[in-house]
């Protein structure tokens, strides 16, 4: 059964899209990640134009983050004050990101930049996770896991504009979370991701936030940033396909439920090792496409509003 996507302007199999949503949803439930960083490349692989994949995925992440944050909210695992600073930074960053996106689209380099961002970040994150999980698996065989001190003081804590974040038990400069929010915001706009895979490590290692509030707070920030990206992409590039987003979401919601059930039955290190291998596989495929000689060196694109 086919459905015509009004913004992507292509006809796709409805079950393929729902299935992809379900698979990524399953993985995100299993691993506790957003899944945007896997979904956008997959959409590009099946032929959705890269800008539409990015704009639409931002829209879908709004929805999946809302359903995710509800659970954390009920448990009181959201630091709203920290979230607000991150959101402020996120708005600035994502607005800049959409502006960059539009400019790159006009000069014909957006596909390249999207793919390059993916190769760099998937490569880095996948590599780190693989390294971590291999080390963890080895270590767990030797002795019980040892935990280091998470919150260390360094020059970053000497910055001005100090604010007390009670929920996170922190007294730090607001500049730091603002900058992290902004950086992730740029990536969110360019890559069509929530950015949790960068923000969560940054919150733990740079800000020193307690792990219990990290996921809820990052989901809270992601809602606002991806909403901003959705709005700005809709206005400036018209690349948000609501039909595609809803189809993906329908699959993702169901998949996530199954994923989170299975995640209880599997070991953390093995899960992360598995995820890292998948991330690296997607990264390698994208990198290969960048360096392999294309079938046709020439490409065409219509110029709208000329």
């Amino acid at each position: 059964m086919h459905i015509y996507l009004p913004i992507a302007e292509m006809s796709v199999n409805i079950f393929l899209i729902c299935g992809m949503g379900g698979m990524i949803g399953f993985l995100s439930g299993l691993f506790g990640v957003g899944g945007g960083f896997l979904m956008t490349p997959l959409l590009i692989f099946i032929g959705v134009p890269a800008p539409v994949a990015v704009g639409t995925e931002a829209n879908q992440i709004v929805a999946s983050s809302v359903s995710g944050v509800l659970a954390h909210w009920r448990r009181g695992n959201v630091d709203f004050k920290m979230g607000a600073v991150l959101v402020a930074g996120g708005f600035a960053g994502s607005s800049l990101g959409v502006f960059l996106f539009k400019h790159l689209q006009t000069v014909g380099q957006i596909d390249l930049v999207i793919r390059m961002c993916y190769v760099v970040f998937l490569g880095a994150i996948g590599g780190l996770m693989l390294y971590e999980s291999i080390r963890a698996i080895r270590r767990s065989r030797l002795i019980g896991a040892r935990r280091g001190k998470l919150h260390q003081h360094n020059w970053l804590h000497g910055l001005p504009l100090k604010v007390r974040f009670r929920r996170s038990k922190l007294y730090i400069s607001a500049i730091l979370p603002f900058a992290i929010g902004a950086g992730v915001g740029v990536l969110s706009a360019l890559m069509g991701v929530g950015g949790g895979f960068i923000m969560i490590p940054a919150m733990i290692y740079l800000l020193g936030m307690p792990t219990s509030v990290v996921v809820g707070t990052s989901l809270f920030q992601i809602i606002f940033v991806t909403a901003n990206v959705t709005f700005l992409q809709a206005v400036s590039t018209q690349t948000v396909d609501v039909v595609l987003a809803l189809l993906l979401l329908a699959g993702a919601v169901v998949g996530a439920q199954f994923g989170s059930k299975y995640s209880v039955q599997m070991k953390g290190e093995q899960l992360r090792g598995l995820l890292s291998l998948m991330v690296l596989a997607v990264c390698i495929k994208l990198a290969f496409d960048l360096v392999a000689r294309p079938d046709d060196l020439y490409s065409i694109a219509p110029i709208v509003g000329h």
């Binding site: 829209n59 206005v235 609501v242 039909v243 065409i300 694109a301």
Partner: protein
């Protein structure tokens, strides 16, 4: 499209063309004037049919609206293929399909076909002012690339579809409109060739439009972009919240 009205129309055409008073030797029409891209659209056939008096070759050309197209050439930078050089063409039709009763080169010589803009290889595109200083060799390279890419997308003719002629009088040919074609005003032109020259032509308009829910979405996304963006967010929040509530106790 049911078969009955089509047959009636063809019979009417037959009768018309048989009338000795008219000087017309060619009559033709399309099975539909309107192609709707609906939510379930995966491409469709439009039937072109007509009648001809006496010998001759039939060439059917479907032309889409002209668009401004940028053709980009990739170049290798530090191992990565990136878009580098580009040429903009102002008036390339976004669609050009052919159906012929005999191979095109047997019907007319290239000069005639070029003059009539028949066949993707014979189309001329105008470079944008910024590219007019370039050598004709360069322009030709980019022009060829445009045609090649359009062919890959199934939007320009690769091999003309056959026009079947029944008892040297009636002809018909289906033309395929793919799912990835643009909306706009298309023209079906039916040429009658005799001894290498087009002696008569008939033009029929075909409007390609998005219709139904998909059309609504597209129009909103382009004409009321801020509202569309806001609606997309509201829909996402509602869907996410609903999902969160439904699966709360699962």
């Amino acid at each position: 499209m049911s078969q009955a009205p089509l047959l009636t129309r063809m019979l009417v055409l037959l009768v018309m063309s048989a009338t000795p008073a008219t000087a017309e030797v060619l009559v033709a029409d399309t099975s539909r004037r309107h192609v709707a891209i609906t939510t379930g659209f995966t491409g469709t056939d439009v039937l072109l049919f007509g009648a001809v008096e006496g010998a001759g070759d039939i060439v059917v050309v479907i032309r889409g609206p002209a668009e401004t197209i940028v053709v980009r050439r990739k170049q290798r930078f530090a191992g990565v293929w990136a878009n580098a050089d580009s040429v903009v063409f102002q008036d390339a039709p976004n669609f050009h399909q052919l159906a012929t009763s005999r191979p095109l080169e047997e019907i007319a010589d290239p000069a005639t076909l070029r003059q009539l803009n028949i066949g993707a290889d014979n189309l001329e595109f105008t470079p944008a002012p910024r590219d007019r200083h370039r050598s004709s060799l360069e322009i030709a390279e980019f022009r060829k690339a445009l045609v090649r890419n359009k062919r890959t997308d199934g939007l320009y003719d690769t091999e003309p579809a056959p026009v079947s002629i029944i008892s040297e009088r009636l002809f018909r040919t289906p033309v395929y409109f793919p799912a990835n074609m643009a909306t706009g005003n298309y023209t079906a032109t039916i040429y009658l060739f005799r001894d290498g020259a087009a002696v008569q032509l008939i033009e029929k308009p075909i409007v390609v439009q998005k219709s139904g829910f998909g059309a609504e979405v597209y129009t909103w996304a382009h004409d009321r972009a801020p509202l569309y963006g806001a609606a997309a967010i509201v829909v996402a929040i509602a869907a996410g919240w609903l999902a969160g509530v439904i699966f709360r106790n699962v």
